[in-house]
């Protein structure tokens, strides 16, 4: 087994609304990523994917609050550190984050090189401008970005180029874990492919040592990540390898998600897409039993009674459902007919 790069145990975080109500957006989440591996997180809007990404950085700002759990990056526990310590010793070096609209994070009045200087000087205030420029040039050249970008303003770059520039800036300090939160969903398919190629290059060249990729585009996760984890209402409901999750989903919610895949391949037009009925539960008062029971067509009254743990099966897989794996496979077979 390779070295564990990120180990998260029972992480729970909440939002406190302006009416002082607690919303548990990440509820006892545990995950492990080994060196050189990537993990995809899938789920519909509002299921807690992005909150999990923010929580993993250990950098909490109201209304997001840390409750419990450990975040261990390469053996170092960062949970419970104060925000200033996190900013100086964790962000950028241990863990880096690319939000969905990363391209909008660039101040339009500053040239790209100035952003790189900011990142490096936050960790090494005495870094020389000449060394920073040299590092930036060599990194940009290795990642296939034109060096001239460094002397340009953000408005002079296209959307795809801006996104790739932001990725290069956020990984300049070789973080151990990179969290990419829907980095390509605002781009067209061609720019999206460039962003994915860049992330793959970063991994292959050792500039990042593990990656968490968040998206609702399942074909993308299937092609980019080693493992996939499905989140629903703040909890993980299933995890497994990318191939297992796409071709043999066990949890009814994962199965529903996989049935919304559209690809330009023969046979796509013959299958009718099936949307999952209903909406996710209100996390101010989450249901007592299975959180998906209200929307699940295989639910039985017992599902609504007890909270369910993650159950391991087939060695590397786990799911959260009251039915057995064998029973679910049988009902899916009948359902398909």
């Amino acid at each position: 087994m390779s070295k564990v790069m990120l180990d998260v145990r029972g992480l729970t975080t909440k939002y406190v609304t302006r009416f002082h109500e607690d919303v548990y957006a990440v509820d006892h989440v545990s995950l492990t990523i080994e060196e050189g591996k990537s993990l995809g997180i899938a789920g519909e809007s509002g299921c807690g994917k992005s909150t999990l990404a923010l929580s993993l950085m250990g950098y909490y700002f109201a209304p997001l609050h840390y409750i419990s759990g450990d975040i261990i990056i390469d053996g170092k526990n960062i949970s419970g550190l104060d925000p200033d310590a996190v900013r100086k010793s964790v962000l950028g070096t241990e863990i880096a984050y690319i939000p969905q609209a990363a391209m909008n994070a660039l101040n339009p009045t500053r040239k790209i090189l100035r952003f790189i200087e900011d990142v490096i000087r936050a960790h090494d205030p005495h870094a020389q401008a000449k060394d920073i420029a040299e590092l930036a040039r060599s990194r940009f050249a290795e990642l296939g970005l034109p060096e001239s970008v460094l002397d340009r303003y953000p408005v002079e770059l296209s959307g795809g180029m801006k996104q790739r520039t932001v990725i290069a800036i956020s990984t300049i300090l070789k973080p151990k874990v990179l969290i990419a939160d829907e980095p390509s969903s605002a781009l067209d398919v061609t720019s999206q492919k460039m962003v994915i190629k860049m992330l793959r290059d970063l991994m292959d060249k050792g500039y990042i040592r593990s990656m968490i990729f968040i998206t609702h585009e399942l074909p993308l996760l299937y092609n980019v990540t080693d493992d996939i984890m499905v989140m629903y209402a703040g909890q993980i409901v299933e995890r497994g390898s990318a191939k297992q999750m796409v071709f043999d989903p066990i949890h009814p919610y994962s199965r529903g998600l996989m049935r919304s895949i559209i690809v330009p391949e023969e046979g796509t037009r013959e299958h009718k897409l099936t949307a999952i009925p209903g909406t996710p539960p209100n996390l101010k008062k989450p249901p007592q039993g299975c959180r998906f029971a209200e929307r699940c067509k295989f639910a039985v009254p017992q599902c609504r009674v007890n909270a369910l743990p993650m159950i391991e099966f087939d060695g590397n897989r786990a799911y959260r459902c009251g039915h057995s794996v064998q029973h679910l496979r049988e009902v899916y077979r009948d359902d398909d007919q």
Binding site: G144, K272, I276
Partner: protein
Amino acid sequence: MTTNETCGCALNPKTTAAGTRSPEEIAARPSCLRGKGVTKVFGMGGKQTVAVDHVDFDFHEGELVSIVGESGSGKTTLSKMLLGLLTPTDGEIYYQGQLRDISTATKKREYWHGIQAIFQDPFSSFNVFNKIDTVLLDCIRMTGGRHLPKEKKIELMTEACSFVNLKYAELTNKYPFELSGGQMQRLMIARVFLLKPKILLADEPTSMIDACSRATILDMLMHLRDETGMTIIFITHDIGLSYYISDQVYIMEHGKFVEHGTADEVILTPKAEYTRRLISDVPKIYEPWDLSTVKF
């Protein structure tokens, strides 16, 4: 949002992705919107940009057509010209067999009775100061229902909401921003259902919502086409979506149509190099996705 709120798609099971109509049957229908040499040039003198370059098209009644291309290929400029929001620099647009005339405000308003649009961003599609009832009542007024009794208006609004699987009783007195992105986009479709235009132009209506809601929206558009016989022009950068939903696909590159034909012809046997590239750029499930061809 509440747990008992329904957002799923309870549609006619006969509505399949491929539809039931043959390409020959669609081609035999009368033309709804036709363009000849439509061109749009921005800028003047030496700094001209040709956004749409002499394109010809013919959209038939009851047809679902996709226009596919990358960002900057001219899709949105063309859609604005079709909507009458931009004036073509050159070329002619024929609406229901007649040369389109939107030279006066009255004629333009009349044209807009026949063509409506759903845009990419559902959050900016509504007036934030208007309640959902007002949005739907406006549509009833636009179609000549100003003097209908209140009960009839409520009945029409309820029918439109249930068409898109929303509950009118739960929406009344709410503002659009209280809904999720997918619900807002469905409310836009409910508007179109009330207005019953001849043509609906959907400009990337699913690019800002998640994959699960996207399935619902696509099915509703197909259902709308089958129920009302509306011509739907679906603009997207995702060739996979266009393959799933369309009768006919137009591929646009640098302001020109490089290929067009039935969805099966264009996607399964593409002739243009650009179409092949667009298809290879979409991540697949059954075929390997080749990243080695990416050029920065």
